[in-house]
């Protein structure tokens, strides 16, 4: 923390009603440095960065920027001073165009009007620089999540800030897009721009970061140079204990066929999907973003109205035309979109967990047994180690990882026979990830059939018994665990050749 520090945050504390999110945290950043900020879900990473960007005012502590004390009254002040942030949650305006979003509040003008020509030109330049093909005039709502994330990144880059905060920028990017981002980071670094990088993916931290600062429960744990540490040490700093392996050793004893899918079609989204699924196995589904994995899962779950094809459940043909029917048949889908499709944020932990089985918790078929509901919730809170003050806490107030565990509890409460996990570990810290893997292991051991959709290839490779690879709405091939590696999956995923069971 020498003289050349571009930024010094000293003794920062931030109190939310009843929660001490930050407790005397220190953080420093040098010019041209890529500095990782690590910690479990809810450790206070995002809060610290929001304090830095003037979104929250600290209750205590001071911020020195280029050696001078600063107090940003709002995001605009921080922007003016040369700070930019890529938010963890996408903060884009659906009905505005990419260009309008990128320059929101900073539009080039011609008199009182927006200079659209210049706006589109500037936007195109930034997007080109990033190497992504996005139309500046497209509406953001029409982009997929990955592209939206790239727009968010481009927006921050366009501010030509001296400090750029990236709060989990890769959680919804494809590998290809991640590579683009990393190249960009290298370039910005060379220009002397300092970057704060928040991620739950260790390999990324080791690849691009110089320094690491670790937070735990709102406290500063320590700062180390990346070169002088390793994964185990960082994990220990984060969770206070060591985690032996990232992945559990999976034992599969596939039993009878639970599900057989023949020529499942959804107009424009899914073409002729056929596969089978057995008791006690995990069927991984890999593919690039937009390859139709989610659509396949949702089609099985009865979300789409115009589905055609045959689904056999334990040998019997069934028609699934709504999630209710799917759940009745023992199939449950865990959405990739936790906030949009998983949780009811305003309801309590218990109310979220019980919602799918509420009808089984009734007195006289009419009134909810509140005690039974609480018991059910407490059982899962204990089993899954959900960090919450009580079962009646509003889900909104839980950290991301714990929210994910609530959705999983909801799923488990229905005692499903087929579970579809769609990106189950997105935005989840290392400790919690391992807990979710263990849970899958346990499900399989109990004879549940699992489908695992994930964009993190190591996850699919390490956890699956067999792997389906999708490309443009079609299943391009199937690989056994033994035959599958990064390369063989990517070949299929990019549609380079078609094969069956190599």
């Amino acid at each position: 923390m020498g003289k050349s520090s571009l930024l010094e945050m000293k003794g920062i504390s931030k109190l939310f009603p009843g929660v001490k999110a930050l407790d005397k945290v220190n953080f420093s950043l040098k010019k041209g440095q890529v500095h990782a900020l690590l910690g479990e879900n809810g450790a206070g990473k995002s809060t610290l960065m929001k304090v830095l960007n003037g979104i929250y005012q600290p209750d205590d502590g001071e911020i020195l920027f280029k050696g001078k004390k600063v107090e940003f009254q709002g995001p605009a002040a921080a922007q003016d001073a040369g700070l930019a942030i890529i938010h963890q949650e996408l903060e884009l305006i659906p009905y505005l165009t990419v260009a309008e979003n990128m320059y929101l509040g900073r539009e080039p003008r011609k008199g009182v009007f927006i200079n659209y020509q210049l706006l589109h030109q500037q936007t195109a330049e930034i997007l080109n620089l990033l190497g992504v093909e996005i139309d500046p005039a497209a509406k953001v709502k029409d982009l997929n999540i990955g592209s939206q994330q790239m727009v968010e990144i481009a927006k921050a880059v366009s501010q030509s800030a001296e400090i750029l905060v990236m709060d989990e920028p890769t959680s919804s990017l494809t590998n290809q897009e991640i590579e683009i981002l990393f190249k960009l980071i290298e370039r910005l670094k060379k220009q002397g721009i300092a970057i704060v990088y928040i991620s739950h993916r260790m390999e990324e931290v080791f690849r691009i970061c110089d320094q690491v600062t670790v937070l735990r429960d709102g406290n500063f744990v320590g700062q180390v140079a990346t070169a002088e540490t390793d994964e185990d040490q960082l994990i220990k700093m984060m969770v206070g204990r060591t985690i032996a392996d990232r992945f559990p050793t999976m034992k599969f004893e596939p039993g009878a066929e639970t599900l057989k899918v023949e020529n499942l079609n959804v107009p424009d989204l899914l073409t002729d999907a056929s596969f089978s699924l057995h008791k006690g196995e995990i069927l991984g589904i890999a593919g690039l973003m937009g390859s139709g994995r989610t659509e396949l899962a949702k089609a099985l779950f009865g979300v789409f109205k115009e589905t055609t094809g045959n689904i056999f459940f334990k040998g019997e043909k069934i028609t699934i035309d709504s999630p209710a029917v799917a759940i009745k048949n023992g199939i449950y889908y865990l959405s990739e979109d936790r906030k949009g499709e998983g949780l009811i944020l305003g309801l309590s932990v218990a109310e979220n967990i019980s919602i799918s089985v509420l009808k089984k918790l009734l007195y006289g078929g009419t009134f909810i047994k509140e005690k039974a509901e609480q018991d059910l919730a407490n059982e899962y809170i204990a089993d899954l180690k959900i960090k919450t003050p009580s079962a009646s806490q509003r889900v909104e107030n839980l950290s991301g990882g714990n929210q994910q565990k609530v959705v999983i509890s909801k799923l488990l409460s229905t005692q499903p026979e087929v579970v579809i996990f769609d990106e189950p570990t997105r935005g989840i810290d290392v400790g919690a990830k391992r807990e979710i893997y263990d849970l899958m292991q346990q499900l399989v051991a109990e004879g549940v059939a699992v489908i695992l959709i994930s964009s993190e290839l190591p996850e699919v490779l390490n956890l699956s018994n067999r792997i389906l690879v999708m490309h443009e709405g079609k299943i391009k091939g199937e690989l056994t665990a033994a035959a599958a590696d990064q390369e063989s999956v990517m070949k299929l995923a990019t549609g380079r050749r078609s094969q069956k069971d190599e």
Binding site: P17, G340, L343, I344, F367, I368, T388, P389
Partner: protein, 319 residues
């Protein structure tokens, strides 16, 4: 960890908040008691609760609709329609009173059901559907009555609006029973829980295996039913079915719901809050009448107090 502290803190604040809406009412009551000697008398208070009953019953249904994130502008017209049908069945068609009431209730429920189907199945915006229904049902009522009131009931029918149980007016009894039922419905049954869930996140609710369409249809139908109950009570109370009855009641009902702390975005709110909201409006009307405030100033005072009440309420919620 200091998390347990947080939760206690929160729920304490929440209790305080619930209390606050009530406090607005209490302040109003105290002020009016000081200003008018007639206000705080048993007959006047019974009077106020009897007056509130019609709007309150409608606003119970409105609470449920708004909890799902919807709205229903047609309640005033449904009220008039059901009242007119019931009256017509009794007076013109000479039906048995209970049969007539059943038909009146069915009429309101049916139109409510139509609202529900248009909103839930056809996915049309509730605002427009119920605005159209407001016009259509008013048209039906005027056509059915030819624009004239229907009157001439026997004493039995008058019981529902003008009768008493001990000293308690029957409309108040009906209101309290409905309040109790709907309170339980919202608090203790899956149906009630699903209303909050739909208002909170309809998508997630659907993916949790709940038939959200069915629930929404049921809510609008129920709302139509409650409007019909109000309509029949009003008809009985006035001893006449007025074709223009209930005009503007939708705004009073929505105001009661929002004053009671229910969010127009859906997902949070209580029917207890709603009855307090309805009481604030009724007490205000009563007080202004008692104080003999001249009509133009009444409008200003009424608007001002509503604004003040919601301001105090939100103020307390913000901290």
């Amino acid at each position: 960890m200091n998390k347990p502290a947080k939760i206690e803190n929160k729920s304490f604040l929440e209790i305080l908040n619930k209390f606050k809406t009530g406090i607005g009412l209490i302040i109003l009551v105290v002020v009016l008691s000081l200003l008018s000697e007639y206000f705080l008398t048993i007959p006047n208070l019974l009077n106020v609760v009897r007056q509130v009953s019609i709007i309150a019953i409608i606003s119970f249904g409105m609470t449920m609709v708004i909890l799902t994130g919807g709205i229903d502008l047609s309640v005033g017209s449904l009220l008039a329609f059901s009242g007119a049908i019931t009256a017509g069945m009794i007076v013109n068609s000479g039906l048995n009173i209970f049969l007539a009431i059943l038909i009146g209730l069915a009429a309101g429920t049916l139109l409510g059901l139509f609202n529900g189907i248009a909103v839930a199945k056809a996915k049309l915006p509730a605002f427009i559907v119920t605005l159209a229904m407001m016009t259509i049902a008013r048209g039906f009522t005027l056509i059915y009555t030819d624009g004239r009131p229907i009157s001439g009931f026997n004493q039995l029918f008058r019981f529902f609006g003008a009768g008493y149980l001990g000293r308690i007016p029957i409309p108040v009894v009906i209101m309290l029973i409905l309040l109790f039922i709907i309170y339980i419905l919202l608090k203790k049954t899956p149906f009630g829980r699903y209303l909050y869930a739909i208002g909170g996140n309809e998508n997630a609710t659907k993916l949790s295996g709940i038939n959200t369409e069915k629930i929404k249809i049921a809510v609008y139908a129920l709302n139509g039913f409650l409007a019909a109950v109000s309509g029949i009570i009003l008809t009985s109370r006035l001893n006449s079915a007025q074709p223009m009855a209930g005009e503007g009641y939708e705004l009073d009902a929505i105001a009661a719901v929002v004053l009671g702390g229910t969010s127009l975005a859906g997902g949070s709110g209580t029917v207890i809050g709603t009855i307090i909201g309805a009481l604030i409006i009724a007490v205000l009307n009563n007080g202004l009448n008692l104080l003999n405030v001249s009509s133009f100033y009444q409008l200003v005072a009424k608007g001002g107090v509503i604004l003040l009440a919601v301001f105090l309420d939100r103020k307390s919620q913000q901290r």
